[in-house]
């Protein structure tokens, strides 16, 4: 019974994580603007990677593996938003401007 619940939870987590990662990658390719691509990549990468790591944590064969996965989860959770913010800030300082307005004019690169 416990095994079944664990497997079911882990399959759900893996499925959600895979969906998040693939949709984020499609967003990286398809979105029109740097900042929208950044949104797709940042949000779905953090969520998808965390969900898949959580799914692996449920299946961990030993506490050592569990602890390693917990460390990976912690570091990803801390560094991924920081890296996303750093890229966004560097792009803004470097002169990349977002598309604005109803017609979505190309943001000018100064």
């Amino acid at each position: 019974m416990l095994e079944f619940v664990r497997d079911a939870l882990s399959i759900i987590l893996f499925g959600l994580g895979a969906i998040a990662i693939v949709t984020g990658a499609i967003g990286i390719v398809r979105f029109p603007d740097f900042y929208t691509r950044l949104h797709a990549a940042g949000v779905t990468d953090t969520a998808g990677a965390e969900l898949i790591v959580f799914g692996m944590m449920l299946q961990a064969p030993s506490w050592l593996v569990f602890a390693k996965l917990a460390f990976i989860s912690f570091f990803l959770f801390m560094t991924s938003p920081v890296a996303t913010h750093a890229v966004a800030h560097a792009a803004w300082v470097g002169g990349v401007r977002p598309m604005l307005g109803e017609s979505l004019e190309r943001g000018d690169v100064e």
Binding site: S10, I11, F14, G15, G17, A18, I19, I21, V22, G24, A25, I26, I28, V29, F34, R37, L38, A41, D45, G48, A49, I52, V53, G55, M56, Q59, A60, P61, S62, V65, K68, L69, F71, I72, F75, L76, T79, S80, V82, A83, T84, A86, V87, H89, A90, A91, W92, V93, G94, V96, V109
Partner: protein, 134 residues
């Protein structure tokens, strides 16, 4: 089975991120795609360890997560200053001098002349600070 599915999804996503890394019009698109590719590599290493029943791959994944973050920051810093060392001199003086001057100008300007001088001081602050910090 579910490990194979997750690995396939991550590999598809890595291919799509590579497309953006090669096609990206600006430098920052490429950096973003590279960072995203690295995060997916971490996940793929972990899933691959589970697939082959060798969870030792998690050590590599842990190391890769940290190196990926440091590499992203280092690349961004390099393309801002064209060097990785000399920018420390730039970072040293104005970044610590700026908030003090900003605070005193705001404290002096707010009671006497409305919000205009304080707002002007705050507006020049972030741009010059952003130039030094980024």
């Amino acid at each position: 089975m579910m490990y194979a599915t997750a690995a396939a999804a991550v590999i598809i996503a890595m291919a799509l991120a590579l497309v953006r890394a090669f096609a990206g019009p600006t430098l920052y698109d490429r950096v973003l795609a590279g960072n995203s590719f690295g995060t997916k590599t971490v996940v793929l290493l972990g899933v691959f360890g589970y697939l082959t029943n060798r969870p030792d791959f998690l050590d590599i994944a842990l190391l890769y997560a940290l190196i990926n973050f440091a590499a992203t920051i280092a690349i961004l810093k390099f393309f801002r200053y064209r060097t990785l060392t000399a920018a420390m001199d730039v970072l040293d003086e104005p970044a610590f001098a700026e908030p003090v001057a900003e605070k005193t100008s705001m404290a002096g300007g707010a009671p006497s002349g409305g919000g205009a001088p304080g707002r002007g001081g705050a507006k020049t602050g972030p741009t010059s600070k952003g130039g030094a910090n980024a």
